[in-house]
């Protein structure tokens, strides 16, 4: 008898419900490890435990790591030398670097710039020239680690705006990267599970917002070409996940992977596409467990 362990919180109420129903349908035990409520402090997952962490907080990540054993079935592709699944906890910057290393098309990115607050005039002229060469003319996007639903994705329309924002971020010790601005009115979210895309949405940016996934964005179900779905699967795989929400942008019909979201809160995707993603995810974990058992 399998147990599906969901590391979650109260904000994920809708997602938790989707998983609870999916478990009931598949007659497996649903174990909600809600970090906002009392929970077992040091669980150790066994061979029939399936695990999905739906929260990105450091506490949730630590909790998951403390409970995983080599026998646990997860959505992670990498294992350490003892066979323990490695839950990669990638920042936006780590992700962008990995995607670049795997040649996944992504917006042109600069990962570090000199401290501008103490810069001389000639330093600034040099920085401006370097950015123009690497990313083109402004506007620029400043993407912060820990951004979600567009919050933490900032736009600077001019170089002087950029340096003033950078100074603020550095002062507050916030990590960021600078990316080329891709003027989009639409973007896509592809939900990848294993080697296929199981649901996909097109987002239309809210009026007067460049962030197509910001609050107020309109989403509709849409199927994308093979090229796009393959790109999404490759990106998810490159980051070491078997599941993820891949955000795609287009510039002059050229697609780019903006980011891969793991965990991915797929409530909207499930509702708009009418795909039972929760059940598919659990079935995937069970299949993975059986496959692993048959190999050993």
């Amino acid at each position: 008898m399998f147990t599906f362990n969901l590391i979650t919180n109260t904000r994920n109420a809708l997602l938790n419900e989707l998983f609870q129903r999916a478990c009931a349908r598949q007659r497996i035990v649903f174990n909600e490890l809600n970090l906002d409520k009392p929970f077992p402090l040091r669980p150790k997952f066994g061979s029939h435990d399936l695990v999905y962490r739906a929260v990105v907080t450091q506490a949730a990540k630590s909790y998951e790591r403390s409970a995983l054993t080599p026998q646990t079935t997860t959505l992670y592709r990498h294992f350490d030398e003892t066979g323990l699944p490695i839950p990669l906890t990638l920042t936006a910057i780590d992700q962008a670097l990995l995607l670049e290393r795997h040649n996944i098309p992504a917006p042109r990115t600069v990962f570090a710039v000199q401290k501008t607050v103490a810069a001389t005039r000639s330093d600034k002229i040099l920085l401006r020239r370097q950015l123009n060469k690497s990313l083109g003319e402004p506007p620029y996007i400043i993407k912060l680690n820990g951004s979600f639903m567009g919050i933490g994705t900032l736009k600077a329309d001019s170089f002087s705006s950029l340096v003033s924002i950078i100074d603020y971020l550095r002062d507050r010790k916030i990590d960021f990267m600078i990316r080329e601005y891709i003027p989009v009115t639409k973007s896509a979210r592809l939900v990848v599970l294993g080697d296929q895309v199981v649901a996909s949405l097109e987002f239309k940016a809210p009026l007067h917002d460049f962030r197509s996934n910001a609050k107020g964005a309109v989403a509709k179900s849409k199927t994308f070409s093979k090229k796009i779905t393959e790109m999404a699967v490759s990106a998810t795989r490159a980051l070491g996940f078997e599941f993820g929400g891949v955000d795609i942008l287009w510039h002059n019909k050229t697609p780019f992977v903006a980011e891969v979201n793991f965990p991915c809160v797929f409530v909207t995707a499930a509702r708009k596409t009418e795909v039972d993603i929760a059940s598919l995810l659990i079935k995937h974990l069970i299949a993975k467990h059986k496959q692993t058992q048959s190999h050993t």
């Binding site: 607050v117 810069a119 005039r121 506007p139 919050i151 705006s161 507050r172 007067h208």
Partner: protein, 277 residues
Amino acid sequence: MDCIVISSDVNRTTNKLLQDACTKRNVNFRQLDAAQADFTDLPSLAPGTLIYRAHVGGPYLTLERVLLNQDVVSFYSDPFHIVNHQYDPLTLLHADLPIPKTVFQINRAYVDDAVKSVGGYPVIIKSMGGSHGVGVMRLDSRESLVSVLDHLDQRGDYYIMRECIETDQSIRLTVLGDRVIDGIAYHVQQGDFRSNVGTPEVSPYGASNEMKQAAVKAVAAMGFEFGGVDFLTDDKGFYIAEVNFPCYFPRSQEITGVDIAGHMIDHLLAKSQKRYS
């Protein structure tokens, strides 16, 4: 006579200038570093001791507040008046001083009205707590503004919105008592709208009487007897950007040669003598 300067080694130039000024006047200079201080065993100060805080930041402010409870002489007109810098621009506004058009609290439902009220884009967002231009951001479009405000709101930062004064220089006037003792101009660097960041280009500045009067009034309105008043100028006139206390006066002293440190000690000595003679 003792002069207590609450400071750290970061302020070494300020410390040195004040120490030299004290030595010339037979005043005992004593630096107290809040980061090193034992707050359970602070010095007992003689009545009339001169005191100046050269360092910004929590523990330094606390140390100053604690010592001000003794009978000391400072640059505060009322030493027990607690300054909340979040409301500095409002204090200036209430004193009928010219400041850039400002929105003090932005309700996100009315963000377009806020922008309109400061004269449209570009706008300045000033996140409180920075210094030397840090936290002062220029945003050129609604898209840029909304993306930055989303982030600030998520962090819970307090910020104000201001009109962007297009200028190629800002002015720093140093006020002591009821007069301006020094003036310098910071020239805007290429690629930045802020004039006081990085390695600024600075020159002496002769201010108009009108500007000097505004500077003196601004420092008094804030409850200080000393301060650095920053002005922005354009073809319509001048605006007070902020009043700095403590203020980094060594740059002015170096550029103009005015012995600001000496004037500061003289001011405190005169105040002490007036009170205790």
